[in-house]
Structure formats: C-alpha cells, structure tokens
C-alpha cells in the first residue's frame, strides 16, 4: 500500500496557492488534513499527480463571530479546534454536539471542516449538519470569489459545485433564531465508525411552541446528505406530540430517503434506524426549543 509518485507543493500564501490551482487545477489535489485523501492514495485509488499542501496557510484557520453573518469558520479549522471552541459551543450548539461522533480524536486533530465539505462523503457528518444549518460557503480562485449556498453545493456522490481551480476558504453559519432547538444522532457499529444512518435536526418554535422552521437532514442514506423535505414540511406550525413525531418519522424513513444496502446494514434496517433516530432527535430538539 504505497502511493504512486506525485509532485508536492506547499504554498506559504493564499496567492501562491491560488496560482498553483490556476496552473494545475484538475490534475492537483489539495492536501488539508489528509485523513481521507492519504489513505485513498495509499490504496492507489486516488492517484493525483500533484499535491498542494495548504497546511501552511495560517489565515484559513479561524472561528469567529460576526454580528450579521453569524459564525465564520475558516476552512482549515480542525475538528478538534471546533470541539474545543467556546464560540461553537455557544453559537453553534448543533455543530458542537456533532463533533465527538466524528471518527476518533487522532483523526479529529488533523481533519478539517473545509476538507469534510469538499470531500462530500455521503456518510460524513459535517455536510449534513451544514445543510441543516443553512450554511453558505465562500469559494475563491485566481479570478475572484463567490458565495454558494449549501443547498446548491452538494451535487452527487463525492461531487460538489466547486470549479477545478477553486479553494473553499470559509463557511458561514447564520445566527440561531430565538427559541431554538437542535439534536444530532447516528448509529454506527463501533464508536467512530461510519454511521449506518445519521440525522441532524435544527428547528425553532414560536411563543406558543409551534414550529416556525424545521429542517431534518439525513446522511449515509444516499449519495449526498438528504434534506427530508416531506417530513420537515410536516413540522410547520405544529406543536410537538407523540403522534406528530411518529408520523414525521414514518414519512421521513419511507418517503424522503432511498438508502442503499451494504454488508453492515440493509436498506430495510437503515429505514428502521432512520425512523428511530428521527423520533429521538425531534423530541430532543423540541425539548430544547421549548425550554
């Protein structure tokens, strides 16, 4: 399991990095945390001729709060930094709750927010959580910059809307509304394994406890994170109740997702888990919102 030969560049500034991307674009791969890329290279399933190591770009690694835009997270922020961040704990509690589920501490010390989103593994936690939070992504190339809404970002199996010469630089998560509730859960064989099914829920209620806006997002049930549209719509203006949760869980698991089968979980079992998790997370989210 030795990789094929490759050329290696380590730019020390964003300008340099963008130049390299402009020059090599499609042939190159960005090396951030390397926790997905390097094993793929060692298996010789990924054979990029060129690696551009952006670990030297210090100004891409930040977590800060912006009055208007919400929480801004630099693409090179490591999972472990997000885990320890007070800003994330206070202002993005859904993200805070999710991080311990991601792989293992050693991997979290290296892996990055940006890497997870760009890699777009259908079983990854962060893409689903960002989708639940309506995040937006800042993409840069040599010619300029653009902002893409998360709902337009994931295009399919490991696919994103990024152009060949673009680098993801920042993720913006809007401020939480009032009376906010959230929950995250996943079922995996062992702690740290790929989830068989996972759910992220983000909602808020009005003064009477009725849901104003709710989003249920699944992962590991398709080729990208799946926004459970039909089920989420059923939350609209509803108070929490056992029947509501049961109904939404049924709709989510039978109509909103098309899970596949693999050796660990059949599609049937995945649907069952999706139903179980939807109920649990919705209940927790409502509890928090109503508190």
């Amino acid at each position: 399991m030795k990789p094929c030969t490759f050329e290696y560049y380590k730019p020390s500034s964003m300008e340099e990095a963008l130049d390299l991307m402009h020059q090599y674009g499609g042939e190159a791969k960005i090396l951030a945390g390397g926790q997905s890329l390097v094993p793929a290279m060692n298996f010789r399933l990924a054979t990029p001729g060129i690696l551009i190591d952006i670990n030297g770009l210090q100004d891409l690694s930040y977590i800060k709060e912006h009055r208007k835009h919400g929480v801004l997270i630099g693409a090179m922020a490591r999972y472990s930094e997000l885990e320890k961040s007070d800003v994330v704990a206070k202002k993005c509690p859904l993200l805070h709750e999710t991080i311990p589920y991601i792989a293992h501490p050693q991997i979290r010390n290296r892996g990055t927010m940006g890497g997870s989103l760009v890699h777009a593994d259908p079983a990854a936690e962060l893409p689903a959580v960002m989708l639940a939070l309506d995040a937006s992504l800042r993409l840069r190339n040599k010619d300029g910059e653009r902002v893409v809404a998360i709902t337009d970002f994931f295009t399919g199996m490991f696919g994103t809307a990024m152009k060949e010469d673009e680098i993801l630089t920042e993720v913006a998560i809007p401020h939480m509304p009032k009376r906010y509730g959230f929950a995250f859960d996943e079922v995996s064989r062992r702690h740290g394994d790929y989830a068989m099914v996972g759910v992220a829920v983000s909602l808020n209620v009005d003064r009477k406890g009725r849901c104003e806006k709710g989003k249920i997002v699944f992962f590991s049930v398709g080729d990208a994170p799946v926004f459970a549209e039909k089920a989420s719509q059923l939350l609209d203006k509803q108070n929490v109740s056992e029947e509501l949760l049961e109904n939404i869980a049924n709709v989510a698991s039978s109509e909103d997702i098309e899970p596949g089968s693999d050796i660990h979980a059949s599609a049937d079992y995945r649907r069952h888990l999706a139903k179980v998790l939807t109920k649990k997370t919705l209940k927790r989210a409502f509890d928090k919102a109503l508190a």
Binding site: C4, T5, R190, D193, H264, S266, L273, V276
Partner: protein
C-alpha cells in the same frame, strides 16, 4: 509446598524492551543493500491464466527481477502437506496444497502470480501495475453446501465435487437410541469465516551470504525449526547452513503456524539467486488475502435426551470450508468433531464431515482451531433441549457433566494429535458453580431481569462451558546452563508471539534453581541456538516447552549436586541449592555461588572424566503421549437496545481450569485477549465473500475488530485441576478465551428476548442480523 516464583504474578522480563521500542521485529531488520518485494495478486477468484506480460515491469528503473512460475524452474513445487490425514477408518482425503506462484490456474482472489524485486517497495508496487495478466474468468465456488453439487464448478479440475476430505467418527450407536429418547432437537447451525488480524502482518527477510554459504532468515513464523528444515531441503542446503529466527512477533494466533507460505519459500530463494538481502513485509490489504482464515462450517445436528435432561446421543453432519488448498490437513474439522463432546458424558455419538475446496483463501487453525464450532453446536443443542424440557441452562449442563471420578475419560474417537481423545483429568462442576455465584445468576433471573423488562430494557444472561485439548506432542526441548556470572541461560526452540515465554519459562527454571526470574535470560525461536522442536501452536507452549525447561533445570540441578558434593566432600543428599548458591544444609560457610561452581565445572587444567560433560549445562526434551484437557465456564450479561439492536456487554465472567498456573498475570492476559477475539468472532468480525469469491471487506474500515470500548474487563476465577501428564501439572490456556463466546452470545441474547421464541443458530451476529431475526419473531407484545 509454597512456591517462590512459580505461580507468582511476576512482571514480564520482556516488557521493558517491548514498551520502549527496543524489541526486534522482522521489519526492524535493515541490512545494507536490501531489495524489496511486491506481488502481483489475482483479482479474480477463479480463472485460467492465458498469458503474463512482464516486459514493461522489467524495464522500469529500479526493478531488479520479475518472476513468474515459469521463472522458478525446478524450484516451483507444491507446498508440503503439513498434517497428514488421521488414521480413521474409511477416511477419504484428496490432498491439494498451495503453490508458490500460480501457474495455469487461479484458485482464490489474492493468489500470487508474479513476484517483483526492486530497490524499494514503492518501485516494486509501481512495477506490479505494469504487469498485464490475461485471465479467463471462471465461475467461482463459494457456498460450501453448493460446492458439493454436480452443477458446481471445480476448484481443482481433478477433484470431484470439490471434496477435500470425508470423515466419519462414531462412539456407541446413535441410531439405536434415537427412538428411545424423550426429546430430539435438530437444527442447522452456521458458523462463518473470520481472520486473525494480528497487529503485526507477516514478513520475511532473507540474507544469503555467498562467502559463508549461509542463509539467515527472519520470519514471523510460529515454527522456525520446521521452516529451517524445509528451506534447507528445498534449497539443497544442509540444515546447518540455514538459520531461521523468529524474533518478537506481534501476535501469531495460528495463521503464522501455517508453514511454507508462498512468500516464505520465495524470498529465501530469490535472495540466494541475487546474492543480496531481500525483504518482504505484508501490508494489511495483502494480509486479508494471503494469510490464512478460519471458521466456515455448516452443521446439521441433532441431540437426543431423556426426560430428565440426560444426553442419550448426538448426531452431527457438517460441511467444512477448506479454502482453495488444504496444507494443514484436517486439524480444524477434527477439532470441531472432538470438541463438540465438551464436558459432557455423551454415550452415543455420530459425527460426519465433508471438507470442501472453495475459491477462497486457505483455512488453517486460528485461536480455537475448530473448537468453537463444536462448542457452538453442543451448547446450543443443550440450550434448546433445556427449553423444551423446562430446565435451566445451568441444570442441563450440571446433569451431563463427566463426574470428577471418571477420569481418565475415553471419548473413543481420534483427536488432532492422532491419539484417542482421552480426557486426562477434569473437574467441571466447581467451575460452573463458581461462575453461577460470581454472576449472581439466580438473582438476575428472578429479580433484575423482570424489573428491567418492566422498564422496557432487554437484558439477558448466558452461561456456557467447554473443554479444550491442549499440550499435545510431538515434543519440545530446552537447554539450561549456568553462566560463570551466576546468571542462567535458557534456550528453547519454540517462538514467542507475545504470550510471555521470556517470563513464564524463566519462572519454571527459577523455581528449580532458586535464582531470581530476572536473572534467567531466555532465548526462543532461533534455530542456531536450539534446533529441535515443532512450534508454538495448539496451546502447547507452557505444557510441552515449559516441561522441557523444567526437566533441563532439574538435570542441571543434578549436576550441581554432583559437582558440589565432590568439591565439598559431602553427600549429595546433604546439599541444598538456594539463594543462588549451593551449600551443605545448615552450614552457610560452605556456600559456593552457582557462578563459581559453573567456572569450576569448566576446567582449564586436569581432565574431564569419561561420561561427564564440562559446565553446568543440560538439554532435555519432553514429549507427552497425548494432550491434557483444560476446561472453563464463561458467563455474561448483555443488554440489547430494542430499537437499534446494538449490544452491550454489562458483565463478563470466566472461570478457567488450566491446571497449575505459572503466572496468573500472564494467564489473565491470555484470557482477556482470547475473549476479545471471541467477542470479535461472535459479533463484529465476518469476512463477506460475494458469489464471485470477491472479499468485500478487506480493510479494517469494514472488517470490524472490537475496540477497547467494546470489550469489557473480564472478571473471574481459576480452578486448578493439575494434569497428570507432565511434571508441572500445567495445561494450556492460549485459546480458551476465544472458544465459547459465540455460544454465549446466542444464549444471552435469546435470554434477553425470552418471551419471544427467538432462536439464534448462527455466528457471527450483528445489529442488522438481530433486527432481521427478531422482527421475524415478534410476538403480540411490542419489542
């Protein structure tokens, strides 16, 4: 008599080196000028090789040699049959062993076809990608029951119905009692494949020294001596020209006792061809394909019991997955056949098995070596019978245990060492009783479980028992000598893969010579230091090599007495060896240190009398006539999440009897490790093959090993029923932890759903599988 070293929890001699990275493993061997090897391995599981094009590979800079089966010339030959068929009446045995490089046919995915030697492993792997092998795809033989049908493709064209072997063993007459039984339970049981997944993969470093005409091989083998002998024969060298060293090894577990793996025979050969050191270290992906597996069997078994639960007889017909080749003979299925009888008095037994070839990697023993299948079938049959009769699992086992006074107990069938399966000693009831106490079995059933069920929790309890044949022959040897410094040197032929031989064997010698354990320097697994013996397998190290160490130490002690009696002019009976000295009893002024005595035993002047040897050194061998039977009881409490079907072990108890215990701390480690592998085998680890013989989980992402979060701390106790078959009274314990865990999971999970008519007849299990089984068995009550 109180012992000073034997039986003590002494810290291991080898740990400081291991923990500080100072121990030598095979990959640590770095000789100048070393070449590196990678293999082209087949993607297809079954196919005819049409052509092999290595031209591009040869041209790549840094590539020194590219070899196919053709290029090996006369050296290409099938591996030896390591274990011949046992002397059982009417046995059918179709021998077929592995080849170093595939010649005309591919028989399993991952089979090596071309060997590339290059300046680095990176270049070697690049060159492997340059190779084009044209293989005509053939349908694969994967399902072991279908393998025997007329329509099945043939793994080996000349072996009909893929039958590797057919064996029937009988005791009494099952057919004559069947109709007299009160209850007959018959079921089909399935046990599926897994791999040992040792922390260290295999590796071979070979160095042919042309000037000295010597070959040195470092090999992650559990059997350096047979490898030395085999390589010498194959390469046309004398045994004294070949030195095989099994250095520290990161876990053996059985697959490393498989001998004459393709890489093992090719690396030394190519080093001799190229006259340079050559290294091959297996990577994890290769390990899934080219290191042996174990565990696939399907049983159709039946138990006939009387109304009071007494076993009248057992009838078992099973199919065993041998893999593409069967170099290890029938060790695994014979173990299944024999271990099924367990701790129980089974007056009538009919056991028939067919071993079949399949287009999957080779099957050879892996910790338990076929015993788990036998235990699974027997324990499940007992549990099902108990349910039918309204007895508890504890009661039915107690009813059928072989009583303490019935030993030696002859089971009248042949065991893996070709001797009759005679249990030398055993005392099963106390272990069961102790386990029931420790886990508070009755309290759980009467109070805890109903309370938890009220809360909607599914928690179950299980208890199983088994025997394990250990310490089989042929023999092992040891050499003890006392150094003029007073330190003791102990050398034995078997190797060590982490089980603590450097300490436990030292303790045995320390006990005899009364020298501190850390002053006994142990060497294992180096054929230059000791060239006679078999290897580390079948839980025999402590019993056989340990006994040899004991005998050698006694022989040295005799020499001490003899020489000291001459020097001190006292009778041998008046002398005592203690505290590193020998002296006349009660007269400390006469004390001579053992080191000084050793120096005197090697005179520079004077003569060595005829019939004596210089020094205080002795070599002894120990060869038991047959194995000695260890036994144990495992119990556990598990909780099953009724929504996700994830399982958590709340408590795990092991009460084990391996005779006298040399080092309780090391024994605990063996048990803990064995149970961890048993847990993996029962609930996490399963090799999935598709209908084309493709392995679908050849990485630790998808082949799930239990982690520290999944394995509980084992609580337990020991019973000591000494073995009458060796001077130490010890029995083996290496595999015990792993054997009954599958049966335990099945019983405990069924118990968690005791109101649901659940039957678990297969291993491994998983949350997905439990979801399927339990959904199919739903009662009116919501689960």
């Amino acid at each position: 008599m109180a012992t000073r070293y034997f039986g003590q929890r002494i810290r291991r001699n080898e740990d400081p080196r291991l923990l500080t990275g100072q121990a030598l493993f095979t990959d640590d061997v770095n000789l100048p000028n070393t070449l590196h090897v990678a293999f082209y391995r087949s993607d297809y599981a079954h196919g005819k090789i049409l052509s092999i094009d290595t031209e591009e590979a040869k041209k790549r800079p840094g590539v020194i040699g590219v070899y196919t089966a053709e290029d090996l010339g006369d050296y290409w030959q099938r591996g030896p049959l390591l274990v011949p068929p046992p002397p059982i009446k009417d046995i059918v045995f179709n021998e077929r062993t592995q080849v170093p490089l595939a010649k005309d046919k591919i028989c399993h995915a991952g089979e090596a076809v071309v060997m590339v030697v290059a300046e680095s492993r990176y270049i070697a792997e690049d060159a492997v990608e340059d190779i084009e092998v044209d293989i005509d795809f053939l349908d694969a033989v994967v399902d072991i029951e279908k393998a025997m049908t007329d329509e099945s493709p043939l793994v080996h064209d000349d072996i009909e119905k893929n039958i590797a072997a057919h064996v029937v063993q009988e005791k009494g007459s099952y057919s004559s009692i069947r109709d007299k039984a009160h209850t007959v339970i018959s079921r089909k049981f399935i046990y599926d494949r897994g791999t040992a997944a040792a922390m260290e993969n295999r590796g071979v470093v070979a160095n042919w020294d042309e000037r000295n005409q010597q070959l040195t091989v470092w090999d992650t083998t559990q059997a350096p001596i047979p490898i030395r002998n085999g390589l010498a024969a194959m390469l046309g060298l004398s045994q004294s020209q070949v030195r095989v060293i099994a250095p520290f090894i990161g876990g053996g577990f059985g697959p490393k006792i498989m001998m004459f793996y393709p890489e093992e025979v090719l690396i030394p050969w190519v080093s001799k061809q190229l006259k340079r050191p050559v290294k091959w270290i297996e990577d994890r992906e290769e390990n899934f394909f080219s290191t042996t597996h174990e565990r696939g069997q399907v049983h159709e078994a039946e138990i006939a019991v009387a109304e009071d639960g007494k076993i009248l007889g057992i009838h078992d017909v099973f199919v065993h997955d041998a893999g593409a080749y069967a170099p290890y003979g029938l060790t695994v299925p014979i173990n299944s056949q024999c271990t099924l009888l367990g701790c129980y008095d089974v007056p009538n037994y009919y056991s028939e098995f067919t071993a079949v070839f399949t287009n999957k990697p080779i099957v050879t023993p892996y910790r338990g070596a076929g015993r788990q299948h036998g235990v699974f079938v027997m324990e499940r049959l007992l549990d099902l019978a108990a349910q039918k009769l309204g007895m508890t699992p504890v009661e039915i086992r107690r009813k059928n245990f072989i009583p303490q006074d019935a030993f030696p107990y002859d089971n009248e069938i042949i065991y893996q060492d070709f001797s009759p399966l005679v249990y030398d000693s055993g005392n099963y009831e106390p272990a069961l009783k102790r386990a029931v106490e420790l886990i508070e079995y009755d309290k759980f059933i009467k109070e805890e479980q109903p309370r938890l069920l009220q809360e909607g929790k599914r928690v179950g309890i299980g208890i199983v028992s088994y025997v394990e044949g250990t310490g089989i022959g042929p023999y092992e040897g040891a050499k003890v000598s006392i150094d003029p410094s007073g330190k003791v040197s102990l050398v034995t032929g078997i190797g060590t893969q982490g089980q603590g031989h450097f300490t436990s064997f030292a303790q045995i010698v320390s006990e005899v010579l009364d020298v501190p354990v850390e002053d006994v320097r142990v060497v294992t697994g180096d054929t230059l230091e000791f060239g006679w013996g078999a290897g580390t397998f079948a839980s025999r190290g402590a019993v056989v090599a340990g006994s040899a160490c004991h005998e050698a130490a006694l022989a040295v002690k005799k020499k001490i007495h003899k020489l000291a009696s001459e020097i001190l002019e006292a009778s041998e009976d008046d002398l005592e060896v203690s505290g590193g000295n020998v002296q006349v009893k009660g007269v400390p002024d006469t004390a001579i240190s053992l080191g000084e005595l050793a120096a005197k035993a090697n005179p520079l002047r004077g003569a060595v009398k005829p019939g004596t040897e210089p020094g205080l050194e002795a070599t002894s061998y120990f060869g038991p006539s047959r194995g000695t039977t260890a036994s144990g009881v495992h119990a556990m409490i598990v909780s099953v999440d009724p929504e996700t079907f994830l399982v958590n072990i709340e408590r795990y108890i092991v009460v084990h009897d391996c005779g006298r215990v040399i080092n309780p701390m090391i024994l605990d480690g063996q048990i803990q490790g064995g149970v961890a592998q048993g847990i993996g085998n029962a609930f996490y680890e399963q090799l999935f093959f598709d209908e084309n013989g493709q392995l679908l989980n050849a990485s630790f992402m998808d082949y799930l090993l239990p982690t520290s979060l999944d394995v509980p701390k084992i609580e337990g106790d020991h019973i000591e029923t000494p073995s009458p078959l060796n001077p130490l009274g010890v029995k083996g314990a290496g595999e015990a932890g792993a054997i009954p865990v599958g049966a335990l999971y099945a019983q405990a999970i069924e118990n968690a759903f005791h109101d649901c008519n659940l039957e678990i007849l297969e291993i491994p299990l998983s949350p997905n599988r439990l979801y399927e089984i339990i959904s199919q068995n739903k009662t009116k009550e919501q689960i």
